[in-house]
């Protein structure tokens, strides 16, 4: 009886090991081992890098006469089960666009209101007699955007036997605001798999 009990107790640590390790499914994914099924920093980084490289390699931003396009940031919809700050995706895209020299981002004209309201606020000082009016920006100075960058992050969940697979689709679209036509679209998929008891939230 005692020997059997000791044997059971000795086996317990091995039996209790979980099989909920998370792995990437598709080959062209971040090299760092994922910690969870949810989206992590390395996933945003990988998606942003892939998308911005695709955009810069396309002719969409090749403006005639070396002109730089003005790009406004539109809606990035989070259609997943996680509370995501979509700025995480956009941050690297914006930095890469600015560094490329092919585009400038407007922080005043943006979906949901200006990112930096100072451009609008400073113009309200035109009626303030205390302010040296010659130091204020003149009228008709703000540049309207040529292009609008919008996107979506979509999540699909699949149960396959004892496993769960989650596919994340990062989608960006560049639209010519004058014509309403899409001049570039990019998609990056990151898939993760684990045991069925792992959650994305």
């Amino acid at each position: 009886m005692k020997k059997r009990l000791l044997l059971v107790l000795a086996v317990i640590p091995f039996v209790s090991c979980t099989s909920n390790k998370v792995v990437y499914v598709n080959p062209s994914t971040p090299k760092t081992q994922p910690a969870s099924l949810s989206l992590e920093y390395q996933d945003f980084k990988a998606a942003a890098t892939a998308l911005v490289n695709d955009l810069l390699n396309s002719p969409a931003l090749n403006a005639p006469n070396g002109k730089k396009y003005v790009v406004a940031i539109s809606r990035i919809i989070n259609d997943t089960t996680q509370d995501i700050d979509t700025d995480q995706l956009l941050r690297d895209v914006r930095i890469a666009l600015l560094k490329s020299g092919k585009a400038i981002i407007t922080t005043y004209i943006q979906a949901g209101g200006p990112e930096d309201p100072m451009t609008g606020e400073i113009r309200k000082l035109r009626s303030n007699e205390e302010i040296n009016q010659s130091t204020l920006p003149g009228k008709h100075q703000i540049i309207a955007p040529d292009l609008s960058l919008s996107g979506k992050i979509i999540q699909k969940v699949y149960y396959i036997g004892d496993k769960k697979r989650v596919d994340y689709y990062f989608i960006l679209t560049l639209t010519d605001v004058k014509t309403g036509l899409s001049v570039w679209e990019g998609e990056k998929v990151i898939s993760k798999a684990s045991g069925s008891n792992n959650y994305t939230w």
Binding site: I12, V15, S16, C17, T18, N20, I77, N78, D79, T80, T81, Q82, D83, Q155, V157, Y159, D162, S196, N197, N198, Y199, T200, W201
Partner: protein
């Protein structure tokens, strides 16, 4: 301190069984109890620390009660706690914890462990969290919560598919075993189980789910949200799915069919100002409550040396609606809401799936403890008999105030108009409905005299 030696060999047997049980219970309940403490509310007052154990069944009931009372912020927080704890618990589960949970619930009682919400309850947790966010006008979070509710449905499907496959395999093994093994205990367990099903659950076959474990209300309210957010593809898919679930079963099928048609047409329309709609969602009454039934088990292994035997099993009654419907007047249109889901059906369908496991544990517990009584002396019989009497309880915990049913109505808005909603024999409420936004009016009536209205514009 009890001197077990004076009880002789029987006393030592009882002591060994008790010690092993206590060891197992501590191993299993220890971590659970510790987790409960980590999610507790602690008063920071010096010398007056108050620790409240987290009880998911009570938190869900309180959460929905707060929604009914117009406190969506607090409602969301409580339901979110249940949501997080459920996921945390599942992620930490392993073969060891499952095994010991099984042992504890067989030898003791399900009630010694924290309540594990049923899958249909968890789907409703995320659905009502999404509704809380709609009322708070936090549409980004609503979208996330609706997506979570839809993933919970997938999870429920997968969970029970695995269980059904497991039970099939066990059944095959049992059949093989029964051919070779004429073990008396095994045979009697099965006969006891069949007896209980025949006597107390003869109508169990009528507990049919709508379609798998899908909640048509979750599908419908998500579809309304995605439609109002301009995601017509997703809305169309969800309206279609909802219609497929309730077609021929619920009177609201025709309403859902119209919404599906409108959404489908909208997908191919190039109009930048589509016709807006207004929906009425009526949360009516209270879901069926679980109750305990104590029964005498006709054991075929008889012993004359038994102090007490019996078992307690759960049963589910019928929910109650508060009003038959609500009526509306919208311009020249008049009508009443129609049922889209009967939550009792969801509850009973899941109960039917869980019943074999619940009954077998109850029977096994009764047999094991009764046998233990028969093997011990007088002192042991009293100890085990008393323990069996105390542990003989059915787990009747549940989310108590879920609505018994949800009814809906759907109307097109052609111009800014007044919508009047009337409760039969009582209250009337007027709403201004805008023609440039989609509107949802939530009407909740868990009991008579407690009606509340919320308007959401998307």
């Amino acid at each position: 301190m009890v001197n077990i030696k004076k009880y002789g060999k029987e006393g030592r047997v009882v002591a060994r069984i008790s010690l092993i049980f206590l060891f197992l219970a501590t191993l299993l309940t220890g971590p659970s109890f510790a987790f409960n403490l980590s999610l507790t509310n602690k008063s920071s007052e010096k010398n007056n620390k108050k620790i409240i154990t987290f009880k998911p069944d009570e938190e869900m009931t309180k959460g929905l009660s707060l929604f009914y009372n117009g406190k969506s912020d607090l409602s969301y927080k409580l339901l979110d706690k249940v949501d997080r704890k459920f996921n945390w618990g599942k992620e930490k589960e392993n073969a060891f914890s499952k095994f010991f949970k099984s042992v504890v619930t067989t030898v003791a009682n399900e009630k010694v462990l924290p309540y594990q919400p049923w899958m249909f309850e968890m789907i409703n947790v995320n659905t009502f969290k999404a509704i809380d966010c709609l009322v708070k006008q936090d549409f980004k979070k609503s979208r996330v919560e609706f997506n979570r509710a839809l993933v919970r449905e997938l999870e429920a499907e997968n969970e029970f598919k695995k269980e059904i496959e497991k039970k099939q395999k066990e059944l095959e093994k049992e059949k093989e075993k029964a051919k070779k093994n004429k073990d008396q205990i095994d045979q009697n367990l099965k006969r006891s189980y069949s007896y209980l099903i025949k006597k107390y659950y003869s109508n169990i076959d009528k507990f049919q789910a709508y379609s798998g474990f899908l909640n048509p209300f979750t599908e419908y309210i998500s579809a309304i949200f995605f439609y109002s957010s301009g995601d017509y593809q997703k809305a169309t898919d969800l309206f279609k799915k909802c219609f497929g679930i309730i077609k021929g079963k619920e009177p609201a099928a025709s309403i859902v069919a119209r919404d599906f048609k409108d959404s489908f047409q909208r997908m191919s329309s190039t109009s930048s100002s589509p016709t807006k709609k207004v929906w009425i969602i009526f949360l009516n009454g209270q879901i069926a409550q679980k109750k305990e039934l104590r029964v005498d088990l006709p054991l075929f292994i008889l012993t004359k040396k038994v102090v007490y035997t019996g078992l307690a099993i759960p049963q589910i009654g019928n929910g109650k609606i508060t009003y038959p419907y609500v009526t509306y007047t919208f311009g020249k249109k008049h009508g009443k809401t129609k049922r889209i889901v009967d939550m009792d059906i969801l509850e009973k369908a899941e109960f039917k799936k869980r019943l074999p496991s619940i009954l077998m544990k109850a029977i096994t517990r009764a047999v094991v403890l009764t046998l233990a009584q028969s093997k011990t002396g007088k002192g042991g019989k009293l100890l085990i008999g008393g323990y069996q009497f105390l542990m003989n309880r059915a787990d009747t915990r549940q989310w108590k105030n879920l609505p018994k049913e949800v009814q809906v109505a759907s109307l097109k808005v052609t111009s800014k108009s007044k919508l009047i909603i009337s409760i039969p024999g009582g209250e009337k409420k007027e709403f201004e409905v805008s023609s440039d936004k989609n509107t949802i009016i939530f009407v909740s009536a868990p009991t008579k005299g407690k009606v509340s209205f919320y308007k959401v514009e998307i």
